[in-house]
């Protein structure tokens, strides 16, 4: 547990479990690990932008999810991403929302 913020560690989420460089490692391959996290942040941001949210890496250990007004929440792994995102933006983040899909499809076509 982090003594500063009281975040309990060691919660393995299934999305973290594919063995590729930078995923399992803690003490070695630091560059790979940071690159992997940066990649996750990049992909998550592309999705979260649709809800006016951004995510950033926090000390290589957690992620900080923020709204445009600065309301923020620390999340441990991607398993906590969506419940937190819904709390922050105050609406359902539904991947099956037709309007959301339409917008994404239009963006791909461009």
């Amino acid at each position: 547990m982090c003594s500063l913020c009281g975040v309990l560690g060691g919660n393995e989420h299934w999305a973290d479990a594919v063995a590729r460089p930078g995923v399992y490692t803690r003490n070695v391959e630091r560059i790979d690990r940071r690159r992997e996290r940066a990649n996750r942040v990049r992909i998550a941001n592309a999705m979260l932008a649709r809800f006016g949210l951004t995510i950033s890496d926090w000390q290589g250990a957690s992620f900080v999810l923020s709204t445009r007004t600065g309301k923020s929440e620390i999340i441990e792994d991607l398993g906590h991403l969506w419940p937190a995102a819904e709390r922050l933006c105050g609406r359902a983040c539904d991947p099956l929302d037709p309007a959301l899909i339409d917008a994404a499809e239009a963006a791909i076509d461009d």
């Binding site: 299934w14 999305a15 479990a17 996750r40 992909i43 991607l78 099956l96 899909i101």
Partner: protein, 359 residues
């Protein structure tokens, strides 16, 4: 003396099936089978299974040891407590070191909460993992139950092994049509017949992924490339609206983008996604990754040894309850595939730096 090895994570198999579908009969057979000699079986009532002639030793009032070496316990109250008690007794050496747990669920139960308990309990999840879900389907009453009860459909949908019971009481043609019906709900779980001479108990708990993969990629093609809408016994659209379909993806999938999309889907619609399973071609991976999820719960992905054949496309089977299949496919295409350009220049261009430092 070498102590028998206890696995790092003990698999927990769930035996489910509708009321009167032959769970207990199958269980009585399992208890006597050498394949389960290293198992602990959690049942509802001792009396139902009729253990007396198998009984070797009574450990306490909820636990007995059988001739086959199998440990048999009744569940009183919470299942999680019963499993923790077993774990504690094993650690203290009070019971034989079992390597597997089989849980019999009640006939009307949705199997999901049991799996969820194993994954979320802070003690259990470090010592146990979900194994195969075995669902019994009665060949006589099964078709009627599937047409009437949502629970029955859900039990079939989450199964890893489907066991058809009472097949000896039913004409072969009816069994074939039951088989087809089961295939529309659950396209890839191996279908076993309890009365078949070739039926082997060990097959039920065997977690050979290739069996699943082989069924998924069988040469007869996909069982449900087109969405299948279930009908009731009367032919009308089923109220439970369980639909299964396969998505085939040509390009390699970015694991993170897929993970973010699937967690988003399960966060919103988890209870309607009865099953997600498939073989994924992950970008940057030589070997395929098998994923396997039941409702909100996704099992730890497994790297398979090799691709089953030349086909390198990803195949994902979805079994959903009342979700719009068209929207789900569009959503997958739009969000689960990483659309942003890959940053090939993540590593600084050293040649430029070197050039500058020398100039």
């Amino acid at each position: 003396m070498t102590e028998p090895q206890v696995p790092l994570l003990t698999p927990i198999n769930l035996l489910t099936g509708f009321l009167g579908s032959g769970k207990t009969t199958l269980l009585a057979r399992l208890l006597a089978d050498p394949a389960l000699s290293d198992a602990a079986v959690l049942i509802n009532e001792f009396g139902e299974v009729g253990l007396d002639h198998h009984l070797v030793e009574r450990i306490d009032d909820t636990m007995v040891l059988l001739q086959s070496g199998c440990l048999c316990c009744t569940v009183r109250g919470e299942l999680a407590d019963a499993i923790k008690d077993l774990h504690s007794k094993r650690e203290r050496g009070l019971v034989p070191p079992f390597r597997r747990i089989v849980v019999e669920s009640t006939g009307l139960a949705d199997p999901f909460p049991v799996l969820s308990t194993i994954k979320s309990d802070p003690v259990l999840r470090h010592h146990f993992r979900p194994g195969n879900v075995i669902t019994t389907v009665d060949a006589v009453n099964g078709p009627g139950q599937l047409g009437t009860y949502v629970e029955s459909n859900r039990q079939v949908a989450v199964a890893d092994r489907l066991v058809v019971t009472k097949a000896d009481l039913t004409p072969a043609a009816d069994i074939a049509s039951l088989g087809e019906k089961l295939r529309t709900i659950n396209p890839d779980a191996p279908l076993l017949t309890a009365t078949d001479p070739s039926f082997v108990v060990a097959d039920l708990v065997d977690e050979n992924l290739s069996l699943r993969a082989a069924a998924l990629q069988s040469t007869s093609g996909f069982y449900c490339e087109a969405p299948v809408q279930l009908a009731t016994a009367g032919g009308a659209a089923h109220q439970s609206a369980v639909t299964s379909f396969v998505m085939t993806v040509e390009r390699a999938i970015d694991w993170t983008a897929f993970g973010i999309w699937l967690t988003m889907l399960l966060n919103r619609h988890g209870e309607k996604v009865l099953r997600v399973k498939g073989i994924l071609n992950i970008a940057g991976e030589e070997r395929p990754v098998a994923i396997h999820g039941v409702q909100h719960l996704v099992h730890t992905p497994v790297h398979m040894e090799r691709w089953p054949d030349e086909d390198r496309r990803s195949h994902i089977v979805f079994i959903v309850d009342g979700l719009d299949v068209g929207l789900l496919k569009r959503s997958f295409e739009a969000f689960a595939l990483d659309q942003s350009p890959v940053e090939t220049a993540a590593v600084p261009k050293r040649s430029l730096q070197e050039h500058q430092s020398f100039s």
